[in-house]
């Protein structure tokens, strides 16, 4: 008695899991025990095709054998152990266990066979399995299981053409019918000699032979790439179908891969007779449009030429018509944009946008554009021609051609240019190759200039800051400058015999110098500092006398009148000496 229909074809083989089978068998054992000692044996199918395998399961109560027993050899069959499962049950406090042994039975010769009973040792007792019948059919013959499975899922391959021309694009449909299932994969289509486009799925429900089936249509386009009688298909779909209740859960899923019958397609070559010169291999039915703007330009100005090829066929493989007649124009690689009007890409339009530049003012028109294709319905070549577009080209102001930036239309990689950009007419600068800037000594040396400038200013700034933070030093420098200037004034006053100014300046210089030395305001310095500050500080008497003499002279001149020119000239070195002596004093 078959336990379950587990396989649909040789392709699926013994795909069911041993655990699931064991569980199913165990359930059967619990319900329909066939032996008083609790052992049972069964096949998942009683009929298999040559090369297929069935699963033989033997269920035993108790702990089972220590090692899996080997069934006796049956000529025409190959029986191999494939697994063991154990199940424990606790019912009303009573524990029991069941062991399931699984064997793969492979049919090697057609015929009717009996797998004889063979001994199994379990819990110290020797048990005999019941004999099992199996039938092996010749290869390819449908077994009851596969025929049953075909009712649950099958595939058809439908082609729109039986006869076609090479390069002609036509739709096909892979139709997958299944009663209940899920996890449908994209079909695998054998397509030697064809190119196949993307598969577009669409699911509906249809009645067929009194049963409602789920129908998934996979639509696609194929293009034959060689001639002769070609076989398209078979198409194989993989899915999990839902099988009804022969196990504990009421249904189970099984992976199947139904295949369609192949379709034979006669692919004809394109006729040589009447093939146009500019034919580029396009097969289908197309229209041609041609437009250019602007049409009033100067030499070298860009003109945007738009060529649209639309219709039914391999639209994305259509190439721009040859531009052999455009030698008087500088051309750039065109931008290409493809608009598709249906999901399968059978209908669409390809837009070429080409920038051209007239090279002389004698040009009066843009050349006509022709496009040739083979119409498979009419079985003849067609050539579409759009007439020349009149343009007006005026002489340009410059000789150098402007750089043209291509319009922002999306460029399709690899499908753009039909030829290289033409040669450049101007020589440009023909210069010897020179070393890079980085290794040229003058350039490297020049980079030191800003650093040096910055460092010079940095040093200058540091010195200025240091001076600003030392008022004594600052005053010392200011006094030095004032004395240097004052001495010049003295000489001037002496030469001009200006006695009052001379002694006023002398007095001021003495104040400045002594004030700086004594760290006192210059205005506070009078003759009295000689006795009050200089003598206690240990200044030599001779210096004190000289200083006192100068102060007295200044006072006398201020209060009683001036000196003559000669005596002023004599005083200048004395003032200088006195100022130098004071400068050398260390006073605090």
């Amino acid at each position: 008695m078959p336990i379950a229909n587990c396989q649909s074809s040789a392709k699926t083989g013994v795909a069911c899991g041993a655990q699931r089978r064991a569980f199913a068998v165990a359930a059967l054992v619990l319900s329909f025990a066939v032996s008083a000692r609790g052992q049972t044996a069964g096949l998942d199918r009683s009929t298999i095709a040559l090369g297929e395998a069935a699963a033989l399961t033997i269920a035993l109560s108790g702990n089972g054998p220590r090692a899996a027993p080997q069934p006796p050899d049956v000529p025409g069959l190959s029986i191999t152990f494939s697994g063991q499962a154990r199940q424990f049950q606790l019912i009303n406090g009573r524990a029991s266990s069941t062991v399931t042994l699984t064997y793969a039975v492979l049919g090697r010769q057609p015929g009717d066979y009996t797998i004889p009973s063979f001994p199994i040792e379990s819990d110290g007792a020797k048990l005999m399995t019941p004999p099992v019948q199996i039938k092996v059919l010749p290869r390819g013959e449908k077994t009851p299981a596969s025929a049953e499975m075909e009712k649950l899922a099958f595939v058809r391959l439908v082609s729109a053409r039986k006869d076609c021309f090479i390069g002609e694009i036509f739709p096909i449909e892979v139709q997958l019918y299944f009663a209940a299932g899920r996890d449908v994969q994209l079909p695998n289509l054998r397509c030697e000699g064809f190119t196949v486009g993307k598969m577009v799925p669409e699911q509906t429900t249809v009645p067929l032979n009194g049963t409602y089936y789920n129908l998934v249509r996979f639509r696609s386009l194929v293009t034959p790439v060689k001639t002769g009688k070609l076989q398209l298909g078979p198409a194989e779909c993989q899915l999990n179908i839902q099988l009804r209740a022969q196990d504990f859960f009421g249904f189970r899923l099984q992976q199947v891969s139904p295949q369609s019958e192949p379709v034979e397609i006669n692919v004809l070559p394109l006729p040589e007779a009447g093939k146009p010169a500019g034919f580029g291999g396009a097969v289908g039915k197309y229209d041609l449009a041609y437009l250019a703007t602007p049409t009033n330009v100067q030499v070298g100005d860009p003109i945007t030429v738009k060529i649209q090829i639309s219709g039914r066929g391999a639209i994305d493989q259509v190439a721009l018509p040859p531009l052999d007649a455009w030698r008087e124009f500088k051309t750039y690689p065109p931008s290409v944009k493809v608009d598709l009007f249906d999901p399968l890409s059978l209908m669409g339009a390809k837009n070429f946008e080409q920038v051209v530049m007239p090279q002389n003012a004698a040009i009066r028109e843009l050349p006509p554009v022709s496009f040739s294709f083979f119409d498979p319905e009419a079985k003849a070549y067609r050539t579409l021609t759009q007439p020349a577009i009149p343009i007006r080209v005026q002489p340009g102001a410059g000789t150098q051609q402007p750089t043209v930036v291509l319009p922002g239309a999306q460029r399709v990689p690899g499908a753009a240019a039909v030829d290289i950009v033409h040669i450049k007419p101007h020589l440009g600068v023909l210069a010897p190759a020179r070393a890079p800037l980085l290794v040229q000594p003058w350039f490297v040396a020049a980079q030191a200039l800003p650093v040096l400038a910055w460092m010079a200013l940095l040093v200058w700034r540091r010195r200025a800051d240091a001076l600003a933070n030392n008022p004594r030093l600052l005053r010392q420098r200011a006094v030095e400058a004032a004395i240097a200037a004052g001495l010049d004034e003295l000489r001037g006053h002496s030469a001009a015999n200006r006695g009052a100014e001379f002694f006023s300046t002398t007095f001021r210089l003495l104040q400045e110098r002594l004030g700086e030395r004594l760290d006192a305001p210059a205005a506070s310095i009078t003759e009295s500092v000689i006795e009050e500050r200089l003598r206690p500080a240990g200044v030599a008497d001779a210096d004190l006398v000289a200083l006192r003499g100068l102060f007295e002279l200044c006072d006398r001149a201020r209060f009683s009148g001036g000196q003559d020119c000669a005596s002023l000239a004599v005083l200048v070195p004395k003032v200088e000496t006195a100022l130098e002596r004071i400068k050398l004093l260390e006073l605090k």
């Binding site: 950009v421 040669i423 440009g428 023909l430 890079p436 910055w454």
Partner: protein, 282 residues
């Protein structure tokens, strides 16, 4: 970012771009010297122009190999110009020597990396190489090669000078030091970034040199000896990257990252000087 910082960035960019004109900005028709003392240069320029026009004429007459010879003669004395290299590439391509054409286009591209004609033809030639689509370089490499090494260097130099100018101004007037701090950072950052660009470009061009196959078919071997097994073959125009050298052999990496050794004479190494280029493509 403050307005004045944006203004400094703007000045940085403009000053640097003005400092180094691109190839196409250079005068297209140089005037020969008018002084008799420079007769040599005068004659040379006049001859070059005549040669160039002769080569162009040969090209228009579809005598592509004749045009190739004249263009190459112009390059033999170490001088080069973008139009000569570009036209040489065109002539090579039309003569069916795709590899040599790619070499010429790449030389021209090195001088004028933003020239749309060169880019278009280089792309076209590469597309024609059977099975030899060069892998698209990463975005940063494409961005780097938008400018020449000299242009990147000039940018970095301008930023460097500006940075020290701002530093010096800050020393000159202490009150300006704080307002100029942002400008110093911006110019310093620009300098660092452009130095990194220069270094990266030098690395790309010199540390990872490429080569172009100029023979019809080149056998790539597993080892740098003639008896080594064949790893794969390269065809005319395929571009490879050089990863090693040994004697007269180059270890190369193709677009599929397959390594192998080829004889040095079977490929043209890039970068190549104009003189090297002229002798290599002959």
């Amino acid at each position: 970012m403050r307005t004045w910082q944006l203004a400094i960035l703007f000045v940085l960019l403009n000053a640097s771009l003005c400092a180094v004109p691109a190839e196409r900005d250079l005068p297209s028709d140089p005037k020969p010297s008018q002084t008799p003392a420079n007769d040599g240069a005068f004659v040379f320029l006049r001859d070059s122009k005549a040669q160039f026009e002769l080569a162009n004429q040969r090209y228009e007459q579809l005598r592509f190999m004749d045009a190739v010879l004249v263009y190459e003669r112009m390059l033999t004395n170490g001088r080069a110009s973008v139009p000569v290299l570009f036209n040489l590439g065109n002539a090579q391509f039309k003569a069916g020597r795709t590899g040599s054409a790619i070499v010429a286009y790449r030389q021209a591209e090195r001088l004028a990396p933003r020239d749309p004609d060169i880019r278009a033809n280089l792309r076209f030639a590469r597309a024609r190489v059977a099975g030899g689509f060069a892998a698209e370089p990463p975005w940063w490499e494409r961005a780097l090669t938008t400018l020449t090494p000299d242009e990147w260097t000039a940018l970095a130099a301008v930023a460097f000078w500006l940075m020290f100018l701002f530093l010096a101004l800050g020393q000159w007037r202490s009150a300006w030091r704080r307002p100029l701090r942002g400008a110093v950072f911006v110019s310093g950052g620009a300098f660092a970034a452009w130095v990194a660009c220069v270094a990266s470009l030098v690395f790309v061009l010199h540390q990872r040199p490429g080569a172009v196959v100029t023979a019809d078919e080149v056998v790539v071997r597993y080892g740098p000896v003639d008896v080594s097994n064949v790893a794969y073959t390269l065809r005319d125009g395929m571009e490879v990257r050089i990863i090693g050298r040994k004697d007269d052999w180059l270890q190369v990496l193709d677009g599929s990252q397959r390594a192998g050794w080829v004889r040095r004479g079977d490929v043209v190494e890039l970068p190549a000087t104009a003189a090297h280029f002229a002798s290599a493509v002959m």
